[in-house]
């Protein structure tokens, strides 16, 4: 029963005394606590030590080798820094450094053409994976909820097989007497087998096939979060579906699109297995050049210079992406 007696409802009510304020207890591990400081420092150090050991030091070694001169010895470059002699040894080495390898990269067409070819292939492949991947990701995101985990699984499934085996499988498909030609011949679409393997087309097929999941997955995760009432709202405001796609769906999928493009562009730029197996002599990508210089010619200095330039080329899109991201987060705060 509800008490309706006013005296007990309102008149006798007193304000509760303000609760005594709790003194904030001194939390452990504040910077004033010396063990806490060291603990935090040690914890923060781990990733930095990791980066130092496995990224920065190797990078510096590669950068130094790129300034050296090739020789037939072990190791195959000159000068070798004599650390035993301390600063004097380092100074002697520095005096022998030159940019001649970098000059070679610019002067010899073999190298800069390989860069350009890699850039072109990476750019075109990224574009093609977007064109192929976007409809796939969109279809996945719009599929019934219960299907979506299965569809994601199907995108990931190829990773369960070795990449090399999958690349070799494409040789089996694209060969002159391969599966594709046999199928086309038996259907009667062609009379002569097509020359597919060892063409740039085969390289694109291989790259798109391999890198499609890296485009589809980030796009899917962006599109899957997209509220369908937004597209309805656009249509309601007089926007036909194809325009809605361009004005609403694509801008909202942009983070996924950019992530996917980077995940495809960067590794394709340095790709060398696919052009080697499927492209034969028809394509020369910088990754292959690097391989040849390093292992066949044992020219470590020029291989190092190629690496440094490749890194510089790849840093540009990453920086552009980071700038876009920081601007976005600035807008949101």
């Amino acid at each position: 029963m509800i008490d309706h007696n006013l005296s007990s409802v309102g008149l006798t009510r007193t304000e509760p005394a303000p609760a005594p304020r709790h003194e904030p207890e001194a939390p452990e591990n504040t910077p004033t606590n010396p063990t806490g400081t060291w603990g935090r420092f040690a914890l923060i150090c781990v990733p930095y030590v990791w980066l130092l050991l496995f990224f920065l030091i190797p990078f510096v070694i590669v950068a130094m080798v790129s300034l050296d001169e090739v020789t037939v010895a072990v190791p195959p470059y000159l000068p070798v820094i004599e650390w035993g002699r301390g600063v004097a040894g380092l100074w002697e080495a520095v005096q022998h450094w030159s940019l001649s390898n970098y000059v070679r990269l610019v002067e010899e067409a073999l190298y800069w053409q390989a860069y350009l070819s890699s850039l072109r292939i990476a750019f075109l492949s990224t574009l093609l994976t977007v064109l192929v991947g976007f409809p796939i990701a969109y279809g996945m995101a719009r599929a019934p909820r219960s299907w979506q985990p299965i569809l994601v699984m199907m995108v990931i499934l190829p990773f369960w097989t070795s990449f090399l085996i999958r690349a070799y499988a494409w040789i089996g498909i694209l060969r002159t007497d391969g599966l594709l030609n046999q199928a086309l011949l038996s259907v009667g679409l062609i009379n002569e087998p097509l020359f597919l393997l060892n063409t740039s087309g085969a390289v694109y097929v291989g790259i798109i096939y391999t890198y499609l999941p890296f485009m589809v997955l980030p796009l899917y995760s962006a599109l899957e979060r997209l509220d369908t009432t937004l597209t309805e709202a656009a249509e309601d405001l007089g926007c036909p579906p194809w325009k809605t796609f361009w004005y609403v769906t694509v801008p909202l999928a942009k983070p996924g699109l950019i992530a996917g493009c980077l995940l495809v562009f960067i590794p394709v730029m340095g790709e060398f297995i696919i052009p080697d197996l499927l492209g034969g002599s028809s394509t020369q990508m910088i990754g292959q050049t690097l391989w040849v210089e390093f292992f066949s010619h044992r020219d470590w200095p020029i291989a190092s210079a190629i690496t440094i330039v490749l890194l510089a080329v790849l840093i540009i899109p990453i920086l552009l992406f980071q700038r876009h991201e920081t601007r976005r987060s600035e807008e949101e705060t």
Partner: protein
């Protein structure tokens, strides 16, 4: 500042005029999703400048109905007409109506200005005019200072107003409101309801609102269609639907009501007598009904039309029954007395707390009289 709209709104009743052409007309519309029938052979006429509310619980088909009008769903059967023109085959982006979505559906990647301008840009209006109209809309919803903000930088109430401005910017012939105020807290919601009414008067646009909140429907609408299981149970003005419900479902959906089952024992024109076996008493009702003597029927009386007293009322031309106060719910503005009038029957009477209750004459377990006028109740057949 603003004139009260009461007199204007009372005078507005195109649905009573048989020669008036409906602005929107649903003709035997059915919508099936698989085996589920969401809207079942429904017909409804909505008139120009009407503020019409589709009221009902979840799953009653009200949202499906409004989505069919907007063009997001295609009716399985039947036609929808706007100004006499069949809308079937007309895609959503070509329908001269705009919807305000429950989630507001503001484009997160666009500023407030861009959101409001979106529909105008789609129509290819000159940028000068777009700018003016966006400014007018911002002024209308009082958001002039927020033009450059993104939706996530606004409060719920501000987002709601941007959504409203965006859906009005194209000056649609019909504004569709899908639970537009559901996300707002109570006070803001009540304010916004009155704003919606004023806006509708000002813009002279036909409004169709979907809501599950009966108070909201009663507040804003000229007429309410109460929906249940894909059908319209009653379509009437708020006053009619509350005071003259056509069925037990409608009576019980809107507000609180006492329902007494019985049998018609006497009938002369509109003067009916209902025998309630639970009470063992004949009750007088003044209500037009097609029921005949012997028919089963129910008497429904709103608790606020019940009087409660310790002594037997002196009037003889009213219904009065004895009971015992079983429970009292003190609500502040009113108190609800639960009075046990029979072993299996408890009726409720609402009494406004007009005094500050220094002393309350009626309390638990008191023997009391419940009385009501013969024209206070309605006869329900279904």
């Amino acid at each position: 500042m603003k004139k009260p709209l009461g007199p204007v709104r009372r005078a507005f009743s195109p649905w009573d005029n048989p020669s008036e052409q409906p602005f929107i007309e649903f003709c035997n519309v059915t919508k099936r999703f698989g085996r589920v029938v969401a809207v079942d052979d429904l017909s409804l006429k909505i008139y120009e400048r009407e503020f019409h509310a589709l009221l009902g619980g979840s799953g009653c088909g009200k949202t499906t109905l409004i989505r069919m009008l907007a063009g997001f769903e295609v009716p399985s059967e039947g036609q929808i007409y706007l100004q006499g023109q069949d809308l079937s085959g007309v895609p959503p982006y070509k329908r001269p109506m705009n919807m305000m979505f429950q989630s507001y559906a503001l484009f997160p990647h666009m500023s407030v200005t861009k959101n409001i301008a979106f529909g105008l840009e789609m129509d290819g209006l000159p940028s000068r005019e777009i700018k003016d109209r966006v400014y007018d809309m911002l002024a209308l919803v009082r958001l002039e200072g927020f033009a450059k903000r993104r939706p996530h930088q606004l409060t719920d109430g501000q987002r709601q107003r941007v959504a409203l401005a965006r859906s009005l910017a194209k000056r649609p012939k019909v504004l569709l409101l899908d639970e537009p105020l559901a996300a707002l807290e109570k006070k803001l919601r009540e304010e916004t309801q009155l704003e919606l009414i004023n806006l509708q008067e000002q813009l002279k646009i036909t409004f169709l609102i979907v809501t599950h909140d009966q108070e909201e429907a009663m507040t804003v609408a000229d007429r309410i269609s109460l929906m249940h299981m894909g059908k319209i149970m009653q379509n009437a003005t708020p006053g009619e639907i509350y005071e003259q419900p056509n069925s037990r479902f409608v009576a019980e959906f809107l507000g609180d009501i006492n329902v007494l089952d019985g049998q018609i024992s006497k009938k002369q024109d509109d003067e009916v007598q209902l025998y309630s076996s639970v009470l063992g008493d004949h009750l007088d009702v003044h209500y037009p009904t097609p029921a005949e003597v012997g028919d089963h029927a129910a008497l429904a009386i709103r608790p606020e039309k019940m009087r409660i007293s310790l002594d037997k009322p002196e009037q003889t031309d009213i219904n009065a029954i004895r009971g015992e106060v079983w429970d009292i719910a003190y609500m502040g503005d009113v108190s609800i007395y639960h009075v046990k009038v029979a072993e299996t029957e408890t009726l409720r009477a609402i009494v406004a707390n007009t005094t500050r209750l220094v002393q309350r004459p009626i309390t638990w377990e008191d023997q009391v009289w419940l009385s009501w006028d013969s024209d206070a109740g309605v006869i329900l057949l279904a």
